[in-house]
Amino acid sequence: MSRPLPRNDRAMRWAMGTFKDRNRTIYTLLVIGVLLWPSIADVTTGGSGNHLVSTAADAGIYVLLAIGLNVVVGFAGLLDLGYAAFFAIGAYTYGLLASGQLSGSPLHHEFHLPFWVLILVAMFVAAAFGAILGAPTLRLRGDYLAIVTLGFGEIVPRVFRFLGAGSPIGNWTGGVNGISAIDSPHLPAFISGPWFGTSIQVVSPFDFSDSNWAPMDYYWLIILLVAICIVLVTNLYNSRLGRAWMAVREDEVAAAASGINTVAIKLLAFSIGASFAGFAGCYYGAKLSLVSSENFEFIVSVSILIMVVLGGMGNIPGVIVGALTIYIVQFFVLTNLPDYAVALSNLVGLGFLNQSSPGWVGLHDEVQRLNYIVFGLILVVVMLLRPQGLFPSRIREQELEKGTAEEAVFDVREATD
């Protein structure tokens, strides 16, 4: 084991200062982007930016999910491969309790609870499932948790699909059709302003179901939710709990010997992570007005995990950037890639590639087939260039830098266990 000389104190403080500043820069850019986005969308599309604003709101859902999963993976170091299950639980909680769905169930009664109540209910339901799942598994070694969450992530959408018409206990979830015609949220008041091309005014009461305004409403609503989550999670990170997660992640035995109940603290991280997914699911159900089990497949869990890892595990601004990056790649770059390829081939005089022939379905479809290969390539390249993620936490950065040059800290766990 090496014994490098103590680090110069001033150098340390300086380094920490720039790290803080980097995060501050990211936040500042994000705030500016958020404020300007509706105008940008309007200007670039010639006044019909609703679609772009709505897409941004969808991206916000992934930001929420990534921030939540970051608590589990980045802070506490637990690998959760079935995170979408909690997202589904949140969405179905809202869907069931804010639509006519349950009138067809054995309850014969429909619920229309308000969004603001259900967002809390969804959080608690998801957190409760997190606790039920985590309690038996978190006692085991880390790898088991990954496998159990993987299974849970597969089971939950199937259960929702199964509990439709014809299930032995009645139609609860609408089965393959999912739940539709879900209520829109209501706000007590909302401020309209120049971003709509109107003067600033308080519109009251405000209804999200107005189709002209809805994208903008949902946009600001998700911004509000994300902002709240950022503040809460940052507070958590800087609290005694954040410190305890870090300790458990580094050395469980030493943490336990210091009086930390490692199972309880991991369970807390797991449940808090789940509750954020429930939170996001509730918003998702409300915005889409439809929940269907096929929107919560394994690929969703993986995407969120990629967002966290690629953005920089443990660092909230990094994770947000990661979520936005992956979202843009998945839903803009990859979906438009076939069209880009067609346009390019026409431009350079290779238009014949667009014709289909035996063994060739045409450039557009061929490129579409390669979508996930391109996605994979992008991920590989990014991880090779920045293995610690785009904007990692100070600690992760150090671990990776020193870890390779100087070999990892000696693991004595097996010697004393």
Partner: protein, 261 residues
């Protein structure tokens, strides 16, 4: 040595403790008692079961048979964090600090069980949480001062020199306000000067009313500070007594000290 002036008080009773791993008996029916306020040493050849006994006392292992009492309370089989919470702190033979946390944060982790801020406080950074955090930071700095590494408070634990890492581990253990401190080879890898400083630190810890149980191979250290000694060999207790008695015991010489010592 008595706690209330009348009855001789023991702080830890190891009562016929046995620990087996498969066919291997690591600790074989060992009994001894540590009195409140003393410095007590556990010595023995390599593989005698000393660290296993530490791990059993601190709850990392459950004893196969026997009972461990701490301040007359049965703690056999309690979880490690629970035992730490009751007032038994320890250091590790191979230093186990949180490498990528600052020295200060390492000590603040030690104070975790004495903190009361709840999830609510953490989420909303309540006044209570802020005050507690300030108090804990103040105390952690005092502890770093006590072990003599305050100037290194903001360095990563892994970047501290070896001697300071040993001290930091002790500071972290002290942060939980223990009644009993278990030190596993605290002087390993230390030079003579550092060993002297370490002995002085252990004396100061005892002066604060903390009972100390230590494993140590350096006979100068053991003979210099401990009041009583238990010797283990192949998991069995082969001697117990004052340093002078133990050092002249033929069985101890044969199994542990060797002819030259």
């Amino acid at each position: 040595m008595t706690e209330d002036g009348t009855t001789p008080a023991t702080i830890l009773d190891v009562d016929h403790v046995t620990k087996r791993f498969g066919g291997l008996t690591a600790i074989d029916d060992v009994s001894f008692s540590i009195r409140t306020g003393e410095i007590f040493a556990l010595i023995g050849p390599n593989g005698a079961g000393k660290t296993t006994l530490f791990n059993t006392i601190t709850g990392l292992y459950k004893p196969t048979a026997g009972m461990i009492r701490f301040r007359q309370r049965d703690i056999t089989g309690l979880k490690p964090y629970k035992i730490a919470d009751l007032g038994i702190a320890r250091t590790f033979q191979q230093i186990r600090l949180f490498s990528y946390m600052s020295a200060l944060d390492n000590v603040r982790i030690g104070e975790h069980p004495r903190m009361h801020a709840k999830l609510w406080d953490a989420l909303f950074k309540t006044r209570y949480a802020r005050r507690e955090e300030a108090r804990v930071t103040e105390r952690a700095n005092q502890l770093l001062d006590f072990v003599g590494i305050r100037p290194q408070a903001h360095n990563y634990a892994r970047n501290l020199p070896y001697g300071s890492q040993r001290r930091l581990e002790i500071a972290r253990a002290l942060a939980g306000d223990p009644k009993l401190l278990l030190l596993d080879e605290p002087a390993a890898g230390a030079n003579p000067q550092e060993k002297r400083e370490l002995m002085e630190l252990v004396e100061r810890i005892r002066a604060q009313g903390i009972t100390v149980l230590l494993i140590e191979h350096d006979m100068k250290v053991v003979m210099g500070i401990s009041e009583r000694i238990v010797v283990l060999d192949y998991g069995e207790k082969i001697a117990e007594g004052k340093p002078q008695e133990v050092r002249t015991d033929p069985r101890v010489i044969e199994a542990y000290l060797g002819k030259s010592a």
